[in-house]
Symmetry: C2
Subunit: 191 residues, 2 copies
Amino acid sequence: MSRPDKFPSKVTIHMVSSLDGYAASRDNNVEWMNTKDRYEQGIILTAEEINAYLASIDCYIMGAKTYEHALELGWPYGDTPVQVVTRQPRSSGKDSVSFHSGDLTEWVNQVLKTRYRNIWLVGGPDLVRQFIRLNLADEIIYTIVPVLIGGGYPFFDAIAKVQPLHLKDQRAYANGMVELTYEILKTDGLP
Amino acid sequence: MSRPDKFPSKVTIHMVSSLDGYAASRDNNVEWMNTKDRYEQGIILTAEEINAYLASIDCYIMGAKTYEHALELGWPYGDTPVQVVTRQPRSSGKDSVSFHSGDLTEWVNQVLKTRYRNIWLVGGPDLVRQFIRLNLADEIIYTIVPVLIGGGYPFFDAIAKVQPLHLKDQRAYANGMVELTYEILKTDGLP
């Protein structure tokens, strides 16, 4: 797949989070994501809209734990290319899955961004921190489930950097989930 | 001040937070709250609206560190009653300030809620955790500044409890801040 010239490639960090900032519980229980809430003014997406949205994703990046968790959950990524960042590459049995070790900057900018347009980083916290610290991500989509889970793996784990953002979009869904889209500004420290 | 019968008293947890969930930086620097962002579709409040909103608050609750920080910042609470929860009561020199030590549940339900209608808990993390664990809070207003600060005092510090919420309201402001209002559901665990 070659990159269309009119749209630059983009790396989006996207995870679902509890209001207290956890992207996963310690035991990888995902029951808390199935909110029973009802927000009257919220949006309901059609199956067609959801499918079109997912079809627009050209590549997923994830860490080894997120990869293993996805295998346990029944592999929600279909045949879309998946890049697993790990110190211990292995064979996957899936043609769509590749493993990467070592330097991230050259790999993202010289390899992934020349192949894929819409790249999603879906966890976990170590990889999110590295992408933000190395200025490798362009956008954050932060989706908040109406629940406090009280502990677990944080979406942002003490990234030790001040990073200004620009709010691009915000919307609430009928199930009480709120989706916030931010551009990661290319500046060090406060503007 | 006696409680109007037609409106029950309510305890609202309200703090401003970075997107990575910190309500304060370690050095109490508040520069990150002064966002330079611009969100075209966002709301702008008039000075009258802000004053009416603040005037609706009947009492503030805070911990000792938040109190000391407020003194350093020039006391933003005017003459509104302030209750400081601390193990070391002291004299304040302000008639509007009282100190409380010991049990929280009876004090909130039997003392504060019979005196004040609109009670705001404004930090810090220890007190927020206790209020959620003891079921003493009714509402959370979570206001997100478009910035990652990378470390500091978290809004929610590992409360070790699953607490379902109901999204009541959400709005974005022209300065890129997003305000989410949640009802704290009176149920243990997931609904």
